[in-house]
Symmetry: C2
Subunit: 235 residues, 2 copies
DNA sequence: GCAAATATAATAGCATTACTATCAACCTTA
DNA sequence: TAAGGTTGATAGTAATGCTATTATATTTGC
């Protein structure tokens, strides 16, 4: 199955190189995909946030990193918060694409669901379709920082403005696959959101709080959540 | 069972009024429980963080709120981050106490586990044992802000210094109760940590992202996690 | 009841942050 | 070649996250 997944990934990557991951345009002032500087902002923001953490990250420091001016970065994003929202949206849109592609031709609902869970919970492998984006580091940022994008006093307004649609849409797809296996299951949405956030959390724990997780180099969060899901919905 | 739980709570509260919730002393410079000002700092930090959010919260604003000086607050806590770590430790120690007390005399492992899950996942009711602490608001803060206490570049050092032992100890108790029901279950630690963080997350979703949760006024996160746990570990 | 010790308040100061504004330079492309 | 848009440089501002110093209360121990 791993081999199958990998060859799938190969086909998908060649497809993706002609595609643009679509992020809601309210998030940015100017589309960073539309210019060289914009791409450098995305590329180096990922490197810098991974290096010093989102809390210490500033546009001034990013400016130094890309040999550009702070004020130029402000022309793309209103604030570092919006940049984080952009990065998380991009990430989930990319995961969503992989999820849809990987499960598209799978008939058996259970097999389909398990593949989808794998896509959202597995450790990320480098994808070279988007040369300026380091997906491995972006995944680390999602694990360490993404919850800060919605744990704010402005969530409800930003949610109304569509900042989190990609994330919610991806979770709804997962919920639907759960319901395809068992349409009587009462908690499909909660299970889907628990799988996604829970997997990020288990990845965090295996790096920092090893005593309260079973996940490590041998047991992956993916394994745990596949077992959990199957037991929860099939009886 | 609800009645039984409530009478238990009554006995527990009278007990608690003679007890002090113990928080690791590395977290503070001066024990806020040791003075009137210290207690005012805790009391009003809960009110103010709930009101304006942790990101906008500053010691200067808190000083205004309690009619005291910024520099006086700095004598109790090095930073607002440490104050958050203090509040979360206090909260989990309080939950841990309720968990131990509520399950103490319960013989049947499954019943014991279900009661423990209820304690960690249910919406909090006001507890008047600690007059300066509003547990309902503190619970809201835990839902909205607690992950910021460990999602930092300093986690590993702070973890070594024991900042998170209360939290980890509470999760280990829950893991042990899972193992008492089924000692062969392979993911007891991951399940315990998923229940605790997952419940906070579901509480957040039912307030802000209702489309990706099944939880609402009729279905509680507690119900979901009890069902999930039983299906996961019994077969 | 008074002195000593301790806690708190007031003020100032400082580097950094998170921006905004202005203007100049440059680079396209019609 | 003029016009429009993009980027860079510089400056400025209010707020943040502290530290330091000194003065004033308050508690306590004798």
């Amino acid at each position: 199955m791993l081999l199958y997944l990998q060859s799938n990934l190969f086909i998908m990557k060649s497809l993706l190189s002609n595609l643009k991951i679509s992020v809601p345009d309210k998030i940015y002032l100017k589309d960073p995909e539309s210019s060289k500087l914009g791409k450098r902002i995305i590329e180096h923001s990922i490197l810098l946030i991974d290096k010093i953490g989102f809390d210490s990250f500033t546009f001034k420091k990013l400016g130094v990193e890309i040999g550009s001016n702070e004020s130029s970065i402000y022309r793309y994003f209103e604030s570092k918060h919006k940049l984080l929202v952009y990065l998380t949206s991009w990430y989930w849109a990319w995961i969503e694409y992989q999820m849809v592609f990987t499960t598209f031709n799978v008939q058996e609902p259970k097999e389909k669901l398990l593949k989808a869970i794998e896509v959202v919970t597995e450790t990320i492998e480098q994808d070279d379709s988007f040369s300026h984006i380091n997906e491995v580091l972006l995944n680390k940022i999602i694990i360490d920082e993404s919850s800060k994008s919605y744990l704010t006093k402005e969530v409800d307004n930003e949610n109304k403005d569509g900042y989190f649609i990609v994330y919610k849409r991806m979770i709804k797809r997962l919920r639907n696959m759960i319901l395809e296996v068992n349409s009587d299951y009462k908690f499909a949405s909660s299970l889907a959101s628990t799988i996604v956030e829970g997997a990020l959390h288990q990845h965090f724990l295996k790096e920092h709080f090893t005593s309260i997780t079973d996940c490590n180099d041998n047991i992956s969060p993916s394994e745990f959540f596949k077992d959990l899901t199957i037991n929860a919905i099939t009886n």
